[in-house]
Amino acid sequence: MTHLGYLIAGWGIALGTLGLYVVSIIRRGRDLARRVPAERSRWLTSTDDGSRG
């Protein structure tokens, strides 16, 4: 396979960055979800229309 270094660098950086970003989002979400009571997480209830606030 030609250009193997470029391929690994390109795909590696992209997937690695996305992976780190996903982990950071999940972490932030966990921290916050622990502090906010479940009834205020609107995606857990289907009746809330989201126009609150």
Partner: protein, 267 residues
């Protein structure tokens, strides 16, 4: 259903988003298989000399780069639409969506620039091509949204952050055609697309892999937006709870004697 109920309140995940995540990961694995295993490298014969030309295996980067680029623009347009929605309706839903789309879009945009540069080195023989319209437009877009995120981070008052962010996002997207047009006129030697995708021997399998790339990165964008939106929503709820607590604490801490002493009144 019962499974999701057990874990609720501790993550931003939900039943639907977990299915989405699993499908996305599966799609990503399939994409890697096609991009590296099943598709052929781009090799053509020069019409006159008969030499082997083309992008060779560097073409495999395009299955990543092109979908990322398209969905960068999708994310930023979504951000602008949500920002306009915020200016009209002033509800937190629009603001949270705009912020989520801007952040995910900026990550995508950064990766487009990096993967583009890595692909350009072997194919165009340069890391950076100044005269290329899309490259320059994308860079300016990246800088504008980096500024957007910096502005939001620097603004303490959430309402002011939402308002200022909405203005910046709309200006950025309105400015985009002008940036694009000016770079295009600036140097009429665009290397992009026509000289690459257009020349590619688009075989069925290549085309299929590219379409698969669009599908997979569309799913990645959807997953990221969904979760980033929920993080933003929780941040707002958390801040509201904090304010409610602070109000209760302030009111509970009022001490009549201290007040009288402070204002110099005899109790």
């Amino acid at each position: 259903m019962t499974e999701t109920m057990v874990t609720t309140g501790t993550t931003t995940g939900s039943g639907g988003s977990r299915v989405l995540g699993a499908v996305t990961l599966l799609g990503l694995a399939t994409l890697l298989l096609f991009a590296f295993g099943l598709t052929e490298p781009d090799v053509r014969l020069h019409p006159t000399t008969g030499e082997e030309i083309g992008q060779f295996d560097a073409v495999r980067l395009l299955y990543l780069h092109v979908p990322l680029a398209v969905f960068t623009y999708v994310a930023f347009v979504l951000c602008a639409v949500a920002s306009a929605g915020y200016l009209v309706r002033r509800t937190p839903w629009f603001d949270t969506m705009a912020h989520a789309a801007a952040e995910v879009g900026t990550v995508f945009c950064g990766l487009v620039l990096v993967t583009g540069s890595i692909w350009g080195r072997p194919v165009w023989n340069t890391w950076w091509e100044w005269g290329d319209v899309r490259l320059m437009t994308t860079l300016v877009l990246f800088l504008m949204f980096a500024g957007y995120l910096a502005l939001r981070r620097a603004t303490v008052d959430p309402r002011a952050a939402a308002l200022r962010g909405a203005v910046v996002a709309l200006v950025a997207v309105l400015d985009l055609p002008l940036v694009n047009r000016s770079v295009e006129w600036w140097e009429n030697r665009t290397l992009h697309q026509k000289s690459t995708l257009g020349e590619l021997k688009i075989q069925d399998l290549t085309l299929f892999t590219l379409m698969l790339g669009f599908l997979v990165f569309g799913l990645v964008l959807a997953w990221l937006l969904l979760h980033r939106f929920r993080v933003g929503w929780l941040e707002r709820e958390d801040a509201e709870l904090g304010v409610a607590t602070a109000i209760a604490e302030r009111r509970a801490a009022i001490d009549g004697g201290d007040v009288d002493a402070a204002v110099g009144e005899d109790a």
